[in-house]
Symmetry: C2
Subunit: 376 residues, 2 copies
């Protein structure tokens, strides 16, 4: 029997795929909502993906045809990846190595005609917040838009006519640090940014050591390809955060994360999928991959000895539709690019069918929440 | 290959149980959070359950021991059942037959030392709202507490020292009809009631034909065995509804439902479980079972011919813990009693570990929701 942590488990889907069962159709329906059609990816692209060792998967979310609206089809890409260099290398080298790795993955996304691509949380750095050391990790924080990473991605966005969402550690003009997603449009312009609103104080992570609660609200970006929001990592545990993006008109909400097994894996397949259902939009849940080793030992506040490894980031990125269906997950252990071709008309079709917003009685809740918010 | 609807599928768990897989431990962890210990049910009780043909399952949710609080252990029961008599029989006979059936199930729950028991939505009647006929279905609505059903359950509650939640169709003094859960305490007193706040207008069901949006808010009942709320059926699609129960201090929220396959089964395992995670409490999702045939044909607003059958209520009742773990589901096709022994201390322990409420920034959302509520 395999262990229940670490990298030896490829994915739930790998296991289920091998099962000798008569009722696969039913199992698929219950676990994934439906058996989504696979996106056909040309052989040469699959080869390229294999060359750079990424798990490349594609699925299609369809909507019914309508006579007053044309289909609103967009291809979305989600990237999960390991860090490239050891955490002991120089900060500049680590950033450049990740730029180089992501450049290759974005090239593949472009060849798959991806319109909107999202990278994982603080993708330019190891997830070093568990160390509680300021040096050198604060050095990874970059100015937006003047920092290296935003400049780097602006070029790729323009080159490939791709909207790119880039979640990084941000350092503003006053040296306040934020956990921020930058949205770059298909012409290489920065459309805006969204700062993480909810900060974990759980397990290895009190990330308020490094950055502050976001003050940019819940912006929805009306991109050429669709209306998108970005709900960063721990914000996925907050249904109100998902709700506001829905009320603001989002059709796709990206949820770039960094989370390890033993902590959150039980909740992972539930939360972003529930958000898609509750708010009648698509959600894209992205988690980093791999095990990161830090130069100095640190403790985890759990009574166990000091150590230099955080645990295994289990990947398993997936995309959910407003009808509750979802793609399979990417690998638990490999870098990956998950593509979904989605007809955004499905959002309104599900709203018309289920009427969650129409029946939400928001005014009742505003009143009640106001009462419950008073200090006691 | 089995069909994907109807009664031929016993449950997801039956299928997974039979799988020849090496990685069962991992599959269980991902699908159920952990492998919950089974509650040992004495052989004579299991025999009694078999005699009356119910699926009887029991699980244990444990918490860590603390030195300033003793364990707070409660046994909760969830009942799912088919109707007993044909829908063409007299209303009075149908009610009495269901009373008799439920009496037997409650006897078994009592022998398992269940402290709090919840029945399914409008348990005294077929789920006839799809017919849009007022006659005879409105006759099933009963006064609280003077109606037959509340009087019947008050006796059983007192006899077995059991808190009983009884979701019925309510007719008040002014002949306004509501979809209401009555909470009866262990001494047989009615503690109060909670009316369904959100009414579906989906598929076969515009239930506002029969009853109005609840006006009792989100009461939490401080029972002898724990603080409980009742979130009826379609309210499970509304994260704000779950949230208020959490803010009001609920430790267990019951979600009595009636929903059919082809409509909601994709969402069923997600929503109540997500609510348990997001609000750090236990949730008990209960769905009725069976296929109900009505005297007169009706249409479903889907372009298909008129028919007299609604579809299959797929049971699959389950209980989730605040840590994201869940029990297996009851049968898709049989009456059942699902028991969970839970240490309610787990709620606060998960709150301390994850801090979702502490990090919820409610005041920010009150302000935003207030803005978003303005008529446009």
């Amino acid at each position: 029997m395999a262990t229940t942590s670490g990298q030896d488990i490829q994915s739930l889907e790998h296991i289920l795929e091998k099962m000798d069962i008569n009722n696969k159709e039913y199992v698929t329906k219950l676990l994934y909502g439906k058996n989504l059609e696979k996106l056909i990816i040309p052989a040469d692209i699959l080869e390229n993906a294999e060359k750079i060792d990424i798990d490349l998967q594609g699925y299609i979310f369809k909507a019914k045809s309508e006579s007053t609206r044309i289909s609103n089809i967009v291809r979305v890409g989600a990237v999960q990846n390991q860090i490239v260099l050891p955490t002991t290398d120089s900060v500049a080298d680590q950033i450049l190595a990740l730029h180089n790795r992501i450049k290759h993955i974005i090239e593949i996304a472009a060849s798959c005609e991806v319109n909107i691509l999202c990278l994982q949380e603080t993708w330019t750095m190891p997830f070093a917040f568990c160390t509680r050391e300021k040096i050198p990790w604060c050095e990874f924080a970059e100015h937006i838009p003047n920092g290296l990473t935003t400049q780097f991605l602006k070029k790729l966005a323009k080159l490939y006519k791709m909207v790119i969402i880039s979640p990084i550690l941000e350092r503003d003009e006053k040296d306040v640090i934020w956990n921020t997603a930058v949205v770059i449009d298909q012409d290489g312009n920065v459309m805006g940014k969204c700062r993480k609103n909810h900060i974990p104080r759980v397990s290895d992570f009190n990330e308020s050591t490094y950055y502050m609660e976001g003050n940019t609200g819940h912006p929805v970006f009306d991109t050429k390809y669709g209306k998108i929001g970005v709900n960063i990592c721990y914000c996925r545990h907050h249904p109100l955060s998902w709700l506001i993006y829905g009320l603001e008109g989002a059709q796709i909400v990206f949820n770039p994360c960094a989370t390890v097994d033993g902590l959150s894996e039980t909740m992972w397949p539930i939360e972003a999928r529930n958000a898609a259902i509750a708010n009648s939009y698509f959600t894209v849940a992205i988690n980093r991959v791999g095990t990161e080793v830090f130069p100095n030992e640190f403790t985890s506040g759990d009574g166990k000895p000091a150590h230099r490894e955080l645990g295994h980031f289990y990947g398993s990125s997936y995309i959910s539709g407003p009808d509750g269906s979802r793609t399979k997950g990417l690998s638990r252990s490999k870098d990956g690019l998950l593509i979904a071709e989605m007809d955004l008309n499905l959002c309104r079709q599900v709203k018309d069918a289920w009427g969650f917003l129409m029946t939400s009685r928001l005014d009742m809740y505003v009143k009640k929440l106001h009462e419950l918010c008073q200090p006691v």
